[in-house]
Assembly symmetry: C2
Homo-oligomer: 341 residues x 2
């Protein structure tokens, strides 16, 4: 694969995404929000959530499942709750629409959450968490989509890969942010392994007969993924179903699977985004206090801070651009008539 790539600048990636989305039913505002998410994913080396997802976004616009002209509405049903009805659009616009209200609520009440409903999420979660940290807040986010993961002990799909992200601000540095599937592997990673003909580690999933397998296609076609860390990871995955669906009145992964039109794009689902203002309880010099912990981690052989690999990619890609599979660009050319200049 590596040989057959084309290097695009971040501006080219954004333009490719924008052009493709607008040519397929997104208005400017919705296209810009999604293109920004795709571009920052590529910038940070999250290729499984970058341009790779664009055909899925397009499929959901074409099928009419997602609303490319969505107008999110933001309300405040309780002082510490921000409800964003995303009007069946893609998540990025709704997240941006409710962000200032969430930040305001967290600062005034001490803690607040955003319930994002009637939305189609197809990206990583650090996009949500990082801007909250940049506002000086501690943040957590989780979302559910379609069923692909068996609960610990089981062999049938019930949970989605149910990602969780958490972030903590740092002084004069990008925040510490982790963002991970509660499945042993993100589905995007398994899809990339299948595309590139690689095995996946044992524990990633079971085949259609319920047996452990390292073949990504056997997991994707009739098999199931498994949670990370056995029953403990499965418990976290259950928590995500309850926060991102039950708590906010949205669909569980199994409900989204039943309702989805299988167009290859993101199913309708919810997202839970939490923001906490440390200045209420953390005490004077709290940013320095947490640096003490981070310093201990960084001083230990073999340990790194979550997010650091992404920030390393970010520093490089701003200047060097990103190598994108040529095949992916051709696919977009067909969708949008965009050509790399």
């Amino acid at each position: 694969m590596a040989a057959d790539t084309i290097t695009l600048s971040l501006d080219q990636i954004r333009e490719l995404a924008l052009t493709t989305l607008k040519a397929n039913g997104c208005n400017d505002e919705n296209a810009s929000a999604v293109a920004e998410t795709i571009t920052t994913a590529e910038r940070d080396g999250s290729s499984s959530h970058g341009l790779f997802r664009l055909p899925g976004y397009v499929a959901s616009l074409k099928s009419g499942k997602a609303n490319g002209s969505a107008k999110p509405s933001v309300s405040r049903p309780k002082p510490a709750v921000v409800l964003v009805d995303n009007d069946y659009g893609f998540a990025p616009l709704g997240i941006v629409a409710g962000r200032d209200e969430l930040i305001d609520a967290a600062r005034s009440q001490g803690i607040a959450f955003m319930a994002l409903v009637n939305s189609h999420h197809f990206a990583a979660l650090w996009h949500e968490v990082e801007p909250l940290c940049d506002a000086g807040l501690c943040a957590f986010a989780c979302t559910a989509h379609t069923a692909s993961v068996a609960p610990a002990g089981g062999k049938k799909k019930l949970f989605s890969t149910n990602p969780v992200a958490f972030g903590w601000p740092r002084k004069d540095q990008p925040p510490v942010v982790f963002d991970m599937a509660t499945a042993a592997m993100a589905r995007g990673e398994i899809m990339l392994a299948a595309r590139d003909g690689h095995d996946v580690p044992l524990g990633a999933g079971l085949d259609a007969n319920g047996n452990p397998t390292q073949d990504p296609n056997a997991i994707l076609d009739g098999g199931v993924q498994l949670p990370f860390g056995g029953y403990k990871g499965s418990a976290i995955a259950l928590m995500v179903e309850l926060l991102a669906a039950a708590l906010i009145g949205e669909r569980f992964s199994y409900e989204a699977t039943e309702a989805d039109n299988k167009d290859g794009g993101p199913a309708r689902g919810g997202e839970f985004i939490l923001a906490i203002d440390p200045s209420t309880t953390a005490g004077e010099g709290w940013l320095g206090h947490s640096e003490g912990l981070f310093g201990k981690m960084l001083a230990m052989d073999g340990v790194r801070l979550p997010g650091d690999r992404r920030y390393g990619n970010r520093a490089k890609s701003q200047h060097q651009g990103v190598a994108v599979p040529a095949e992916l660009i051709e696919k977009h050319n067909a969708l949008s008539k965009w050509t790399c200049q």
Copy 2:
């Protein structure tokens, strides 16, 4: 071991704990709160957090580290934040002292958290979560204590076993509650394995030379525990340090280790308890909605709901009492002159 046990009723367990705590420096109020926690732990089969911990509580009373006459003070620095200063007492009294305020804050603001500081925590976390669920709320709790776990990739202690608990209410049934160490094993479980001469699974920890071991003593004496689920579990453990220490201005596990007097009882530390009112956003019939998910889980071979084993133990122990190691009872006799009638 099994042969050398004495069966005590729950009332006897409570009396044993009460008598021992009061004979060693706890006033009635503090002793009652801790005895209740110990009794409900034994009731639910959490023997590693029951009477097994009583000598540690006593040690911290005797050394003067913990305040047996603590008077927790509850304040509300922001509408959705309940701050409980526990006056250096054991956690159970402070948790009870702030609970109604937390429930009120969650209901009126939609979400709220309790910051418990200047406190000594030595129990399981489902004690905190379950009463919040009984009040119709979704709940999460986490705490840190002393360093025993290496971050993923490392070989030195930095995190504690950093337990997390989460609960969701059910209609006319006890809530779904999970409560687990973010270490591969709870330290209490490793201590019980050491006491009883059992191996622990590979992955539980490293010996003093940084090599994997199944010998619980090698982990406890100079070795380190490991997080569950590799770097993902390690990320959750880091989140716990940030919520239960950085966010609320309390000690990180490594700071608690440095400050602790090593009397064998619980170090000073913080706890983060979150409560969310689903009725704000979950919609009509939300308890029925989540039953749909639980029903899917229960219908799957090999899958059970978190908490069910505890509730099974609870149903039995109410009538049959609990088999307690005779050696443990003798230890308490020496501490309190309590004798089993």
